[in-house]
Symmetry: C2
Subunit: 583 residues, 2 copies
């Protein structure tokens, strides 16, 4: 079955009011508004075909389909728009194709697998665009590994031509890498020698930590622009196997079928269609069905409100019938989309306040139907892991996040994770601000969802990270599950930063938001990235915490991005001029 084939269908990535060609050579004056809506029927850069248990995901980048104007994407090089389609495909494979148990990622072009991120795009992008682009591409690659690990959809890179930089990093995110043995196809990380920057999508980390390439060989590999091929690539562990071209397709197919056979996914079943998201966008906010964001630009503030469920499905059969209409799935999709849009399109809204509204008991009842079935029902499993990934996006978002817990809110179980992901949490210890005679008080409820099924990138639950090393306290919290916790109790349990009363509440919230705005956005980003991830490190936290920080630094240095830097000089015929001082 061919899900998508045509390319060249109308691309609606870029808001219509951005004039084509208005961009200068080096810096787009205003970043265009980016949409993350995609559907396979109108993919411009990928072909997705499901063939029983095996899906084929073929990269076929339209040179002229850049998400912003100003560059051609030759040799299957990619930009944010290409990666948005990849993300869409990875998501749809999980929800729409329960029968797919392995995914072959390959190129539809004759002479190249993928040349990596488009260099003209990188060289011409402002710093925040480059960093945001790298973050999203990293999340998508982590998502492929998550599908392999948690959904029985094993990704196999069929590298049928030269594969460089981000192209090889895409392959690294797959469970297996098969390289065509044709005396010319290589894998390479040429960023350091050609561009004076680092491989920005986890390459350095995955080479040594995931594939366990020896550090001296990794050093040779990452400093030569021509890459490695053939037996050496296997010996160095850069690829799993080399295969002659005449056997390539059959070998790839056999490997894919083998991987599919050992999968835990059902052999058949009906998928859930990820129907188009409905949203209203204005200059003052974005509103979805269960999620809305209101902007206060004068305070650099976005207030995000998540609404709890109206109803509770009786069982998973009902959840299957609801499909994309199920509250937890729909809310997650909306929140995911909102995070991506705010990160990309609203870089000056530096503080996100998170609130909720609804019935705490319904949240817990709803999550229970889904979470209890996760080990038997593929859809339940997908919803849980998708919500987990969306929370992880929050964890690595470079915005200050403040959760406000007021009467009428529903921070219970899955939704309380939003508060725990925040940098700070405040609960109102008193009646609603606009109704001082009301008996209503804020409350919080913990559930099993808070104790390990939604881990952060460091492998710990947000509660275990919050009370790192304090097992006794974690045990105490476990005993407080499934009951209403009052503001006083929530405060005593250390679940919030403070519990101001109704007289102080508005002033305190105002001061927090104002104080945040007065601080250096860069220092906040660095501080938050360090505070959020205590304890153990993983491939993921290394990629976001260590590699990303180094890459940000390198991107920002004149040796890369200055007028004589390697990134700016690439392809001009002029050599880069370096300040040779080691820092």
């Amino acid at each position: 079955m061919t899900i998508a084939a045509e390319s060249g269908t109308g691309n609606t990535d870029v808001a219509a009011d951005v004039p084509q060609g208005a961009r200068e050579d080096s810096q787009p004056p205003v970043s265009p508004e980016v949409s993350f809506d995609r559907k396979p029927e109108s993919y411009r850069h990928w072909k997705l075909r499901a063939d029983g248990p095996v899906a084929w995901l073929e990269m076929d980048v339209d040179e002229h389909g850049g998400v912003v104007p100003g560059y051609d994407m030759k040799l299957n090089s990619y930009d944010l728009g290409v990666d948005i389609e990849l993300y869409d495909a990875v998501q749809r494979l999980r929800f729409e194709h329960p029968e797919v148990r392995s995914v072959v990622l390959t190129s539809a072009k004759e002479n190249v697998f993928c040349a990596g991120a488009n260099i003209r795009m990188l060289a011409g992008s402002p710093h925040e665009w480059k960093v945001n682009f790298c973050k999203f591409t990293n999340e998508t690659r982590n998502g492929m590994e998550d599908a392999t690990e948690n959904s029985g959809q094993t990704y196999i890179a069929a590298v049928n031509g030269p594969c460089a930089g981000g192209g090889y990093e895409l392959a690294l995110a797959c469970d297996q890498i098969l390289l065509v043995d044709d005396n010319s196809s290589t894998v390479a990380l040429p960023e350091v020698p050609l561009l004076g920057v680092l491989p920005g999508t986890g390459g350095l980390t995955r080479v040594v930590d995931k594939r366990r390439v020896r550090k001296d060989l990794a050093d040779v590999f990452a400093t030569r622009s021509d890459g490695v091929k053939g037996k050496t690539a296997v010996e160095w562990r850069l690829v799993d196997d080399i295969v002659p071209r005449r056997d390539f397709h059959d070998t790839v197919q056999r490997r894919a079928l083998e991987a599919a056979e050992s999968s835990s996914r059902p052999a058949s079943g009906e998928g859930i269609e990820l129907t188009p998201l409905q949203r209203e966008v204005s200059d003052s906010g974005i509103a979805y069905r269960h999620v809305r964001a209101e902007f206060d630009r004068s305070r650099s503030l976005a207030t995000i409100t998540v609404t709890g469920p109206d109803k509770v499905p009786a069982d998973m059969a009902e959840v299957h019938r609801q499909g994309a209409g199920n509250w937890l799935l729909a809310m997650t999709r909306e929140l995911d989309d909102l995070i991506l849009r705010l990160r990309t399109n609203e870089t000056e809204l530096g503080t996100w306040v998170i609130t909720t509204e609804g019935d705490l008991k319904k949240v817990l009842a709803h999550e229970k139907v889904i979470f209890d079935a996760a080990s038997q029902d593929w859809l339940s499993n997908e919803i849980v892991h998708y919500y987990k990934r969306t929370l992880k996006r929050l964890d690595v978002t470079s915005r200050s996040i403040i959760a406000l817990i007021e009467p009428g809110s529903c921070f219970a179980g899955v939704l309380f994770e939003l508060a725990l992901a925040a940098d700070r949490q405040y609960i109102l210890d008193g009646p609603p601000i606009d109704d001082e005679d009301s008996e209503q008080r804020a409350e919080v409820r913990l559930s099993d969802a808070n104790f390990g099924v939604l881990p952060m990138g460091n492998g710990l639950s947000r509660l275990a990270s919050r009370f790192y090393g304090d097992g006794d306290h974690q045990e105490w919290l476990r005993r407080e599950k499934d009951r209403a916790l009052s503001p006083g109790e929530v405060n005593e349990l250390g679940l919030v930063t403070d519990a101001p009363d109704d007289i102080d509440w508005e002033d305190e919230v105002r001061l927090i938001v104002e104080a945040r705005k007065s601080l250096s956005p860069d220092a906040l980003t660095g501080m938050e990235a360090n505070h959020r991830f205590v304890g153990p490190e993983t491939l993921e936290t290394k990629i976001f915490g260590r590699l990303t920080a180094w890459q940000n630094w390198v991107f920002n240095r004149p040796n890369a991005s200055g007028p004589e830097g390697a990134l700016r000089r690439y392809g001009t015929g002029q050599k880069a001029v370096f300040d040779r001082k080691r820092v």
Copy 2:
């Protein structure tokens, strides 16, 4: 016994030919040559007094004693020169004072503990100076923790006045923090709110990972400039105890004596005097007794040669008699000094080639006398841990390091760790280059020293890092201990990157050095930092790998270091102007 008291003695930090006042307000035109030679008798900024099992290390910064001209160091703020003295004191306590089992770190000034790194110094320093300064100060603080953990010298911070930024980070490196309870003394990390940079000496990491302060409280703490005092400081775990001023000295002394009682160090014993290092410095190199470096500025190259021991001590009694003359201790001190001088004074020598010369068997015999006694003999223990720390300096040095193993070299045991610390290793498979008829061949010998007693910052030996996750290979290597390994065997065992023969050797080495010079120094630094530390992360690797990279990035951003940035505007009365885009 007062070891040092006078301040104001001649400061020879700065080479005499650097004109005073030649520095512009913002950037010293040429960084002065820095020496790391110090002795307690002429400390300018510290008082060191050993009182039986307790040593008192009092900070008393001479305002006018900056290591470079251009700033006053008020309120016990510090610069590199102050920290060089601290490093000297920490080292001497370990070698010269076996009887000292706890160290009280406090201030000799009336109204302040320590205001942190001097801001004028930071604001006026070039990027590479700031980063190198932070690296050295981090290493010294890690060294204090190493003394507490491995030498039974427990550091106690007696915070007898306000304590901010680097001052609090100094306290964080101690095992206990006691804060005077006088209604005005606070601990604070005001870098983010006041300077728009991060606490650069491990503060963010130690607050959440070592002291396990909750991330939301850490966020509040690190975003308010006025700090935290009294009971709140204890409740948030920022300090261990608060003590009224009238009881402060007695309580501190009691705590220090209690810590001393549980120490593994001998109650008495004769120390080893760390006699002045002898070196010859010229524009073309530095030569010590057992270590020398030759500079080839046209190739951005320093060739470091370590000479093996002439003789083997019969037992530890002889090592004690040799004192600072013992080969392993002397060589370590020289190598340590060389690393520090090259990092600080020779930032354009981006590639370090490491070679050795001497008798492999003597290296192993020498190390065996010392390493075998480490559990019983305090001096043996100190030499092993000092060599470990010096190797760790190499691991975090932002230079490309290449080890060359030729006939006549002595890469055995402890010295083979130098090769393993390198980014690449090459062994000559053939006769010496200048004597093709010779029968002599290069060899390598492994010993127990390569299997865990000299761990990297990630907690793994360099061999376990090199063959990360491959336990079988590590077992194989264990079986090859204590015998001569030929170039072919060394190559087969994966201990070197390549083993060129005598025909190719010189060309290959030349090409490697030339290639390195052609690459962006920044990209190399980021790449090497990522390749060198596979596997688990620790406080140390987080500080050097993650926090440092973020700090480098923040330092480099206009929001900190630009003309309107917070670091440059601090103290001018003008508010910083921020680009509010979140990155």
